[in-house]
């Protein structure tokens, strides 16, 4: 596989074409003790944008993620893969995945060399090839930044 094909894995192209969670969903705030938060992130160098909304259960798990965005296939596919990965996950697990994905993006194409970690990341390991291109890493991280920020804004991180 060429480095270009390593970067644009079929999983990524599929998610870019058929994104998961795209289309902001209204979450009535304080609905049965749920917390919600929203974040808008931009990548000023290329204009990639994402607005992401998160809904957290009273027990501290992600009930749902929805988002709207525009940008390159890497940024859009990454939000999509992340959405399917974190839905239903407890916040501690979300934090762990966020850490693992950042580690993956710093791996310069080598991956994590840790089967448990790669299992946990699932489809998100398809972004390993992206980590060979320093200019594109921030595209892959845009959605994760939006998730982290919307969780912080929801107040869920303080209480859990």
């Amino acid at each position: 596989m060429s480095t270009l094909e390593q970067m644009y894995q079929q999983v990524i192209l599929d998610h870019a074409k058929h994104p998961v969670g795209r289309g902001l969903v209204d979450v009535p705030s304080a609905d049965h003790g749920h917390l919600t938060g929203e974040s808008h992130q931009v990548n000023p160098t290329c204009g990639d944008e994402v607005t992401l909304r998160v809904d957290v259960t009273p027990e501290g798990a992600v009930a749902g993620v929805s988002w709207e965005g525009q940008g390159c296939s890497i940024s859009q596919a990454s939000v999509s893969v992340m959405t399917s990965l974190v839905e239903g996950a407890p916040l501690a697990e979300v934090a762990r995945l966020d850490g693992l994905f950042h580690d993956l993006m710093s791996s310069r194409g080598k991956g994590l060399d840790d089967d448990d970690a790669e299992d946990a990341l699932g489809d998100a390991t398809a972004f390993t090839g992206v980590s060979q291109y320093p200019a594109r890493i921030k595209c892959a991280l845009l959605g994760w930044a939006a998730l982290k920020d919307s969780l912080a804004r929801s107040g869920a991180l303080a209480t859990n």
């Binding site: 480095t3 644009y8 290329c46 204009g47 944008e49 390159c72 296939s73 890497i74």
Partner: protein, 445 residues
């Protein structure tokens, strides 16, 4: 047309070349390319580099690199101070470079102020207005004073460097920013020019050539409109000076800014052109050493221009390098360079025939340079750039520091191919062929 082999450090400033009709011959182009060591390198697994990002920054000929090294090896000293031989030689090299740049752009020596780049140069003008508005510079600077109700006019096509400083100036002075819109073909829409440039207009700032659309602005029309109402003109000449003959006196603009690194020169240096009488009347912006006459604990009097606007130790080696770059281009002959690049622009514009490719900017080659921005249906510019890069083809992707212009066309990002003196038709053909395969790679229908 002469080849470049005769340009060497220390050559006297060359006149702007005589008019001709030829473009660069294949032999001349081969000789030009041999002057640029970086063009020999390979990228992405041993492929030849196809550098189509010269509008962002150009590559440098060996003679420019040698001139900078030669300065450090033989002449390095602080300029305009010190009585030793090195100081004399450094000062001479610095001032000769100024003369070379001045001759290259149709200016007098005293009308060229060294600046770190075009962005800094435009900010000098904006801050001079600001300082004058606070009363600095006295009566002489009256024409730089702004008050609420005054207007500054720019265009919708500006690089942020020729937009944000004016927004900020308006915020500081209460002046109002207005702009000339861009038409669907990427050229300025002058239909309402007389309603936009009025008695209230104090500054009309615009790009000579857009770094996105490649369109050449109708300078004469805009200068005439500004003169009618007594407004000062500021020309962003970043993209014109490296690619076509430019004569500021002939254009009749009041100020102009351009960068060394886009015209085969080093980074860290650029120039502000100002009509002599205006520079003389303008209060300084950055203050400190080297730009003064008499300093007491209470107050300071300022040196005449250009020194008044060159505070602190200057980027002498880079300035000398920029002077050399101006000589190099002058010797090549800008009329021939422009004709060569017109041919490249025509080759580039053929991408509009590729299904799904849309050019943002004029499709005809009249009054446009070889800077071609485009979108590919169903594929983001970043992804387009990545596929081209995989074949060794370097283009720019993003908003190219012109967000309002992109918003005008309802897009966030474009990919952009741009040429310089050393670009070949073969490179443009390789680019077109690679671009034709992009939609298939992403499965875009």
């Amino acid at each position: 047309m002469t080849t470049t082999a005769t340009v060497r450090p220390g050559d006297p400033a060359l006149e702007v070349e005589p008019a001709g009709t030829g473009t660069l011959s294949t032999t001349e182009l081969t000789a030009v390319r041999a002057d640029f060591p970086l063009l020999e390198r390979t990228v992405r697994g041993g492929q030849p580099l196809v550098y189509l990002d010269s509008a962002a920054t150009s590559q440098k000929p060996q003679v420019v690199l040698d001139t900078e090294v030669d300065f450090y090896e033989q002449r390095n000293a602080a300029v305009h101070r010190g009585a030793h031989q090195l100081a004399e030689e450094a000062t001479e090299a610095y001032e000769q470079a100024r003369a070379a740049v001045a001759a290259f752009v149709g200016a007098d020596e005293g009308e060229i102020v060294w600046q770190p780049g075009a962005t800094a140069a435009i900010n000098v003008v904006a801050y001079a207005f600001s300082n004058a508005s606070l009363g600095r510079g006295g009566e002489a600077a009256a024409r730089f004073r702004l008050a609420p109700g005054d207007e500054i006019v720019v265009t919708e096509a500006e690089h942020h460097a020729n937009l944000v400083p004016w927004q900020e100036l308006c915020a500081r002075t209460g002046a109002v920013l207005r702009w000339i819109p861009v038409a669907d073909d990427g050229r300025l829409d002058l239909a309402d020019l007389d309603a936009i440039v009025t008695d209230r207009t104090k500054v009309l700032a615009f790009a000579h050539v857009s770094n996105v659309t490649g369109a050449v602005a109708p300078v004469a029309t805009l200068v005439a409109a500004a003169r009618r109402v007594g407004a000062l003109t500021v020309l962003d000449a970043c993209q014109s000076v490296p690619n076509m003959p430019v004569d500021f006196h002939e254009l009749g603009v009041d100020f102009a800014a351009f960068s060394g690194h886009k015209m085969l020169g080093p980074t860290g240096v650029g120039a502000l052109y100002g009509r002599r009488e205006l520079l003389e009347a303008m209060p300084p912006t950055v203050t400190g050493g080297s730009m003064v006459e008499v300093v007491t604990m209470e107050s300071t009097t300022y040196a005449p221009p250009p020194q008044r606007f060159e505070a602190g130790t200057q980027m002498v080696a880079q300035a000398v390098g920029m002077g050399c770059a101006a000589q190099y281009l002058g010797e090549l002959g800008m009329a021939g360079v422009a004709r060569h690049e017109a041919e490249l622009a025509a080759e580039m514009l053929k991408i509009a025939e590729i299904p799904g490719v849309r050019v943002i900017g004029p499709l005809d080659t009249a009054n446009r340079l070889a800077v071609v921005s485009f979108v590919v249906d169903g594929v983001h510019a970043h992804d387009v750039g990545q596929v081209l890069d995989d074949k060794g083809i370097a283009v720019r992707v993003g908003h190219h520091c012109a967000q309002p212009l992109h918003r005008r066309f309802g897009i966030a990002a474009t990919a952009r191919a741009s040429a310089s003196v050393y670009t070949t038709v073969e490179e443009v053909v390789a680019f077109r062929e690679a671009l034709a395969g992009v939609r298939a790679f992403f499965g875009a229908e």
